[in-house]
């Protein structure tokens, strides 16, 4: 793993800002693109997201989360906030093929390192890091009920709202919320039970 850049970013080091963009720009851009149809809207969201990353750079604690996860978390929060404020007019659909909807969601790609390779100072370490964490999540995600997996994938990987998921699945809104909350809670528990937990803080808490 490379040295963290956020402490230097917090100090106002312009070189660190560039390294931060090189390392995490693609990740934040990818997250924004899930929520915004127009590239111009996604670009605006990325700018807002990075402002939030810089504002929160001093709060980064490597004992709680990896730098990649922390940057993605801060950026994603800001992007979702923009979505909720109506910055993205979105509409999605699915085919009303109930038999296919009942099939397990294709989560295999989550652990594909080739799909998550980013160049960071000439080294594809972010791809490795993301892929490694994704592999752990994939394994534990597969232990959830199919309904929970489906809702979590739609919400987190596809960026679908609660209402959109209810439309897609035909489930009542309350059922969608219930599957999502219980699934996320269970996923967190399963990850915490692993030998190598998501965060060292969780390990200390166990």
């Amino acid at each position: 793993m490379s040295e963290a850049v956020l402490p230097s970013v917090a100090a106002g080091d312009s070189d660190a800002v560039e390294r931060c963009l090189d390392r995490y720009g693609g990740l934040v851009w990818s997250l924004a693109r899930r929520y915004f149809a127009r590239p111009a809207d996604a670009e605006d969201a990325v700018q807002e997201a990075f402002l939030s990353v810089w504002e929160n750079a001093r709060r980064f604690d490597p004992s709680v989360a990896s730098e990649t996860t922390y940057v993605a978390m801060i950026a994603r929060r800001r992007i979702i906030d923009l979505v909720r404020r109506g910055k993205a007019a979105r509409r999605t659909m699915t085919q009303n093929d109930v038999s296919r909807l009942d099939a397990p969601p294709p989560i295999e790609e989550l652990a594909d390192p080739g799909a998550t390779t980013f160049e960071a100072d000439g080294v594809a370490l972010l791809g490795f890091e993301v892929a490694e964490e994704a592999q752990r999540v994939r394994v534990q995600l597969a232990r959830l009920s199919e309904d929970q997996q489906r809702v979590l994938r739609l919400a987190l990987c596809e960026g679908q709202s609660q209402t959109q998921i209810a439309d897609l699945t035909g489930w009542p809104l309350g059922t969608v919320k219930s599957h999502a909350r219980r699934g996320l809670s269970r996923l967190r528990e399963l990850l915490a039970e692993e030998t190598r937990p998501v965060t060292t803080k969780q390990e200390a808490d166990r």
């Binding site: 917090a10 100090a11 106002g12 963009l21 693609g26 990740l27 851009w29 990818s30 997250l31 693109r33 899930r34 149809a37 590239p39 111009a40 670009e43 990325v46 700018q47 402002l51 810089w54 001093r58 989360a65 990649t68 993605a72 978390m73 994603r76 929060r77 979702i80 979505v83 909720r84 979105r90 509409r91 999605t92 659909m93 699915t94 085919q95 009303n96 093929d97 989550l110 652990a111 998550t116 994704a134 999540v137 979590l152 994938r153 919400a155 987190l156 990987c157 596809e158 959109q164 439309d167 897609l168 035909g170 919320k177 999502a180 909350r181 996320l184 809670s185 967190r188 998501v198 969780q202």
Partner: protein
């Protein structure tokens, strides 16, 4: 559960509600009322708890695979140059930086203004969808151009050859495309409408992107319809036209599918 009540802190009911709000925040974000409720409940909690956010983010980030556009990188560097890192480091309020939007050169703006004035003065009509299609075909380096393949549906007229039903042009980079139709019957918008779906290689194939609802007017000849996707399409692989109720649908049963175009 996952939120940690302080001693003498929230009731079991509040602790459960706090847990729900933390999960919802990680999944979909919160509205203003929910945010206020979360802040109220967190005041009685010893641990703000970002555990749900970390798990949700790990899953959400797993499929991230795009590169930052170079021009956007330049804008981010401009934003950083104006950002008050000292204030942020000190934890004091940071004067908000207004993110710089893409700026057009002055001469470009003047040229556009002059063009608009000239076309207004000359009474020139706005570009037609066909004009826009031709412009896209001429300018897009990544243009996808595929012919419609007719399916078995009463909305299609009999044409002498399959390729005669028209085609689709699409640019992933421009997020822009146009459809040409021949032999697709005029619809009564009060009864039914046509709807486009775009299948994206980067998305689950069960969830194609809505490409917009449209009508085919009565009359002979070719009709050009712009594609209006409401989600980003990274790599379009298949275009499908369905016949739906007025206004279109969120969930299509694909019972009527007159045209398909596959790259």
């Amino acid at each position: 559960m996952n939120a940690t009540p302080a001693s003498g802190g929230p009731s079991p009911h509040d602790a459960q509600r706090l847990d729900e709000l933390l999960a919802d925040r990680a999944l979909w974000g919160l509205d203003a009322a929910e945010t206020a409720e979360l802040e109220r409940l967190l005041a009685g909690s010893a641990d703000a708890d970002e555990g749900y956010d970390l798990v949700a983010t790990t899953l959400a980030a797993a499929g991230a695979s795009e590169s930052l556009p170079p021009l956007l990188r330049e804008r981010l560097l401009d934003d950083a140059a104006e950002f008050d890192f000292a204030a942020a480091r000190g934890g004091s309020a940071v004067t908000p930086v207004t993110p710089r939007r893409a700026e057009w050169p002055v001469y470009t703006m003047l040229a556009i203004a002059a063009g608009l004035l000239l076309s207004f003065w000359m009474g020139r009509p706005a570009p037609s969808p066909l004009d826009n299609r031709q412009a896209l075909v001429a300018s897009a380096d990544d243009l996808v151009e595929v012919a419609w393949a007719p399916q078995d549906d009463p909305s299609l007229e009999e044409l002498p050859e399959e390729a005669a039903y028209g085609d689709v042009v699409w640019s992933d980079a421009a997020q822009q495309g146009y459809m040409r139709f021949r032999g697709l019957k005029a619809n009564d918008p009060a009864v039914e409408q046509y709807q486009l779906w775009v299948f994206d290689a980067e998305r689950d194939e069960r969830y194609p992107v809505d490409g917009g609802v449209f009508n085919i007017p009565a009359g002979e000849g070719e009709h050009v319809v712009p594609i209006r996707t409401t989600l980003p399409v990274t790599k379009a692989t298949l275009f499908a036209i369905t016949v739906e109720k007025p206004g279109g649908v969120v969930v299509s049963d694909r019972s009527r599918l007159p045209l398909l175009a596959s790259r």
